[in-house]
């Protein structure tokens, strides 16, 4: 029992960082298919990513990260800016692109 407690304490104290599955941003100025295409191309070129998703209607952009990979929110914001757009809000989310798409689909059905 004592050993289990020690292991548990060690685990809690260790700097376990669970990498975000995806980075999701709300983007200003992204209104046309060509805009979206430019952002998608930039994101697909990022070696840490394994997929990009652009939703024009909801003006959101998602980069799904490869396992054990991470990208800072600042770096992600910079990529969007370099594509010519402004980031309104950016966050790490524990969801894959498939899950985000499923949520959007579910919310549309609920409307």
């Amino acid at each position: 029992m004592k050993n289990i407690l020690i292991i548990l304490c060690c685990l809690l104290a260790s700097p376990i960082v669970s990498a975000a599955t995806s980075i999701k941003a709300e983007v200003n100025g992204m209104v046309c298919a060509f805009c979206a295409k430019g952002i998608e191309k930039k994101l697909n070129a990022m070696p840490e990513g394994q997929g990009a998703f652009v939703d024009l209607k909801r003006r959101i952009v998602v980069l799904e990260l490869k396992p054990q990979q991470n990208v800072s929110l600042d770096a992600f914001t910079q990529v969007i800016k370099e594509a010519g757009y402004a980031v309104d809000k950016v966050e790490n989310v524990e969801q894959s692109i498939a899950e985000i798409k499923a949520n959007i689909k579910a919310s549309m059905k609920g409307q």
């Binding site: 200003n28 992204m30 209104v31 295409k37 209607k57 370099e82 010519g84």
Partner: protein
């Protein structure tokens, strides 16, 4: 003429809603634009090394009714002067200029600087453009406004149809006022637009096809 243009302008503005006004693609992209109509034919190809600049070549043919055509071949530059990224909209000011050679009715050095302002959302679009079009003995300066709306909102990888209305006034040209209602289809990296210039004037009525492809 001014009255007609004002009416066309008001129609275009009042129909505010339309498409994708960019004169160049995204960073490291190529864009091909063509216009095929009875009065104007144009092919432009450019490369954008950044989101602010694009360089390319173009061939433009002006075919006034009842006169010989003039063809201008040249190189061009497109620059994004200013962009405003708004929560659900984008506005831009562009500069575009070309220099080259005119052949046909007019011969010699040709140049064509222009300035464009556009504003668009996912459902609405407005554009205003002023363009000088000069060669020895030729002054076909033009002013154009476009407005439009999409029939419905579409996802990035779906085809989105738009209705677009353009009014264009061209100096020393016949017809000097060209009003073109058109249907535009936009998908991920192309648009196709089919319109009819001056549809209510039997002697000037002419189909027009515009294509744009970015990759």
């Amino acid at each position: 003429m001014f009255k007609q243009l004002s009416v066309a302008f008001l129609l275009a503005v009042s129909s505010l809603h339309v498409q994708s006004a960019a004169l160049m693609g995204f960073e490291d992209s190529y864009m091909l634009m063509t216009e095929t109509g009875e009065y104007n034919q144009e092919v432009m190809f450019n490369y954008a090394p950044s989101i602010h600049h694009a360089f390319g070549v173009e061939v433009m043919r002006m075919s006034p009714k009842g006169m010989r055509a003039t063809t201008m071949t040249g190189i061009n530059y497109t620059g994004l002067i200013q962009r405003w990224n708004l929560p659900s909209a984008q506005a831009n000011v562009w500069f575009m200029g070309s220099v080259g050679e005119a052949r046909g009715l007019h011969h010699g050095f040709s140049y064509s600087p222009s300035v464009q302002f556009d504003y668009e959302t996912t459902r609405l679009y407005f554009l205003a453009k002023m363009r000088m079009l000069r060669a020895p003995g030729m002054n076909n300066d033009m002013a154009a406004v476009q407005g439009g709306f999409s029939f419905y909102e579409a996802d990035f990888d779906e085809t989105q149809p738009w209705f677009v209305l353009e009014a264009k006034a061209i100096k020393n040209f016949n017809p000097s006022l060209q009003v073109t209602p058109a249907l535009r289809l936009i998908n991920k990296n192309y648009f196709l637009e089919l319109g009819i210039t001056n549809p209510f004037n039997k002697s000037e009525r002419a189909p027009r096809l515009n294509l744009m492809f970015t990759y």
